[in-house]
């Protein structure tokens, strides 16, 4: 190209050098950012496969001595699934209603601005602080035992802002014409929201909730303070200490022998598989829903 119109295309050497230099740095930055991701995933998969077997998935750590091989994370998987399910049951209705308030009822009032601001601030609350809060309030002041339920409370606090933001975004996407058409037919506002707005935004909200679940499923610090530890299977999230997968990884990683480290890697692999499946499912739902594929 420059051969045809050299006098227009020419850029002085220094400027071109800078341009190419920055381009190189930008590409380099991306490469640097991807390296830890590849390294983490590679090590988790390659080290995790050593113990990622049926015994690991179906056995607990009960009666497994400090230096013994074997054992598994069944109790932790059960715990994580129950805690995350309970956290969703708590946070999804509250988050959804808050989003409905922000979008449908708030009308730019002062309360709406406060809530909106604090939803943002809440996303920045450190997970360990949410755990400490449940510890202080639920366990120390109300005298409740360490339990999966206490952990779910802490996780719910962490999920809440993510759910609100995701649901709010989806509700804002619902075209106003739909609402107005419904009002024109004499449908009251609340029925319009329940029958028209929410179904329209439904899949988007499901995606958002799944991403929120994926986010809290890997949280360790709040569980440490509220669920405590156990090596046995405890299927009742309301009574007694439970285990969680992240907690299991933390516990095993802190033990100074190779069999425990192997279990930690296998636990990390299980955790990442669960989280990636949630992420993938959320992506697929968005993909199937995208307008291009709509019949």
């Amino acid at each position: 190209m420059s051969a045809v119109t050299p006098e227009i295309q020419r850029v002085s050497g220094m400027r071109r050098f800078k341009d190419k230099g920055v381009q190189f740095l930008v590409y380099l930055a991306f490469a640097i950012a991807v390296v830890p991701l590849i390294s983490v995933l590679w090590l988790v998969v390659s080290n995790g496969m050593a113990r990622f077997d049926m015994e690991f998935l179906t056995h607990s750590m009960r009666n497994i001595g400090a230096r013994d091989a074997g054992g598994g994370a069944y109790h932790a998987i059960i715990g994580t699934l129950e805690q995350v399910a309970l956290a969703s049951i708590i946070s999804v209705p509250i988050g959804l209603l808050t989003a409905i308030y922000l979008v449908e009822y708030g009308a730019n009032g002062r309360l709406k601005r406060y809530i909106s601001f604090f939803v943002d601030i809440m996303t920045g609350v450190p997970s360990v602080v949410a755990g400490l809060f449940v510890l202080a309030f639920w366990i120390l002041i109300l005298g409740m035992p360490f339990s999966g339920w206490a952990g779910a409370l802490a996780l719910a606090i962490l999920m809440l802002p993510t759910v609100v933001r995701a649901a709010e975004e989806m509700l804002l996407l619902v075209p106003n014409d739909l609402r107005e058409a419904s009002y024109a037919l004499g449908v009251p506002k609340w029925r319009t929201i329940v029958k028209v707005v929410l179904p329209t935004a439904f899949t988007g909200i499901v995606t958002g909730v799944m991403l929120a679940v994926a986010r809290v499923a890997g949280e360790t610090a709040p569980l440490l303070l509220t669920v405590f530890f156990t090596d046995s299977i405890n299927e009742d999230p309301f009574n007694g200490p439970q285990m969680g997968l992240p907690l299991y990884v933390f516990d095993q990683a802190a033990r100074p022998n190779d069999t425990a480290i192997d279990r930690a890697w296998a636990g990390a692999l299980t955790l990442i598989v669960i989280i990636m499946l949630l992420n993938l499912a959320a992506r697929l739902i968005t993909y199937w829903r995208s307008p291009a594929r709509k019949r």
């Binding site: 950012a33 510890l135 890997g218 440490l224 990884v249």
Partner: protein
């Protein structure tokens, strides 16, 4: 949204539209959704209140100054604990992580917004988001098993050749150092800084960009003249949000930091601890006063991160152009 003003004036003046407003379900539904919003505010307030309530007895039992004491003997019969060393470690390690992560995150954001091929951009952005999906505890495991041994060489190198710079000084280079902890923190906060910066860069006025290119600017000159000035406040607040994340990050640093109680800028020596790491490490053996002390330290962490986050949100909310930028 326009209808809600009608609902507010409803009840008093019976107009023809009142049939629409008077539906029996409307009141409860409206109160439920408002109540949920208020509950959310209540939770934030409750976090502060209950942390304070549980912290006070421990602070009263403390025989040393909470603000200046360096040690943490909260479980002793004469409890002695202070936040100084922990707060120092939290702030220094977070800033170090920020210094490492921000330039790379800006590069990543520019790559996705202005350099990568359009068709690939969103997929590559998703790859970076995956970094955020990896749980903290996995980074911690990766950190102690892989990164700590891996960084021994480079750390020793820095100490040997750049040891005259105070932060790289010290006689004993260790694997589990402040530097390695900060590296892991940097990896963990990179996605959020990159994601927000990317959104901001994408909002940069297209006309200005095209005008710069039309006047003969190179791509870098165009970015420097139109994208970066526009994006600066957004990048600053993204960095502050990242800082807040780094300060609250717990499990990864609990596994990596050597958990010492020192105030030293020597990032290659056995220094490094943070409020959050101390909570995770100390909770297991804490007695009643010990738990109160940890809650007091958590309160300090809560306040610091609250201030950092508020400042970040304030910077972002001042610019209308960023209205659609959310994290």
């Amino acid at each position: 949204m326009a209808t809600s003003t009608q609902t507010r004036e409803g009840g008093s003046a019976p107009q023809s539209r009142s049939a629409f407003r008077r539906s029996r379900g409307d009141g409860p539904f409206r109160y439920a959704s408002t109540g949920a919003g208020v509950l959310l505010l209540g939770i934030m307030a409750a976090i502060a209140v209950f942390l304070i309530v549980r912290a006070i007895p421990a602070l009263q039992a403390n025989t040393a100054s909470f603000l200046s004491e360096l040690t943490w003997n909260a479980n002793a019969s004469e409890p002695k604990f202070g936040i100084a060393a922990l707060a120092f470690g939290t702030v220094v390690s977070s800033f170090l992580a920020l210094i490492i992560a921000t330039p790379i995150a800006i590069g990543v954001a520019l790559f996705i917004s202005h350099y990568a091929p359009r068709r690939l951009a969103s997929a590559l952005g998703y790859v970076i988001d995956l970094l955020a999906a990896v749980p903290s505890v996995v980074y911690g495991l990766w950190g102690i098993i892989f990164l700590v041994p891996f960084m021994r060489g480079p750390s020793q190198f820095l100490n040997d050749y750049l040891g005259w710079i105070p932060i790289f000084g010290g006689d004993q280079v260790v694997g589990r150092s402040m530097l390695v902890g900060s590296l892991v923190l940097a990896i963990m906060i990179l996605p959020i800084i990159a994601a927000i910066s990317r959104e901001v860069f994408l909002q940069a006025p297209k006309l200005q960009e095209e005008a710069a290119l039309a006047l003969g600017a190179t791509r870098w000159e165009m970015i420097r003249m139109s994208v970066l000035p526009f994006g600066r406040p957004g990048v600053i607040s993204a960095a502050m949000l990242g800082l807040g994340r780094a300060m609250g990050e717990t499990i990864a640093v609990a596994l990596i930091f050597p958990a010492t109680f020192t105030i030293s800028f020597e990032i290659l020596s056995a220094n490094g601890n943070s409020i959050a790491a101390n909570i995770a490490n100390g909770f297991g053996e804490a007695n009643d006063i010990g738990r109160g002390a940890l809650i007091a330290s958590g309160l300090v962490l809560f306040i610091i991160t609250l201030l950092v986050n508020m400042a970040a949100r304030w910077v972002i909310s001042r610019r209308k152009e960023y209205a659609r930028v959310a994290a």
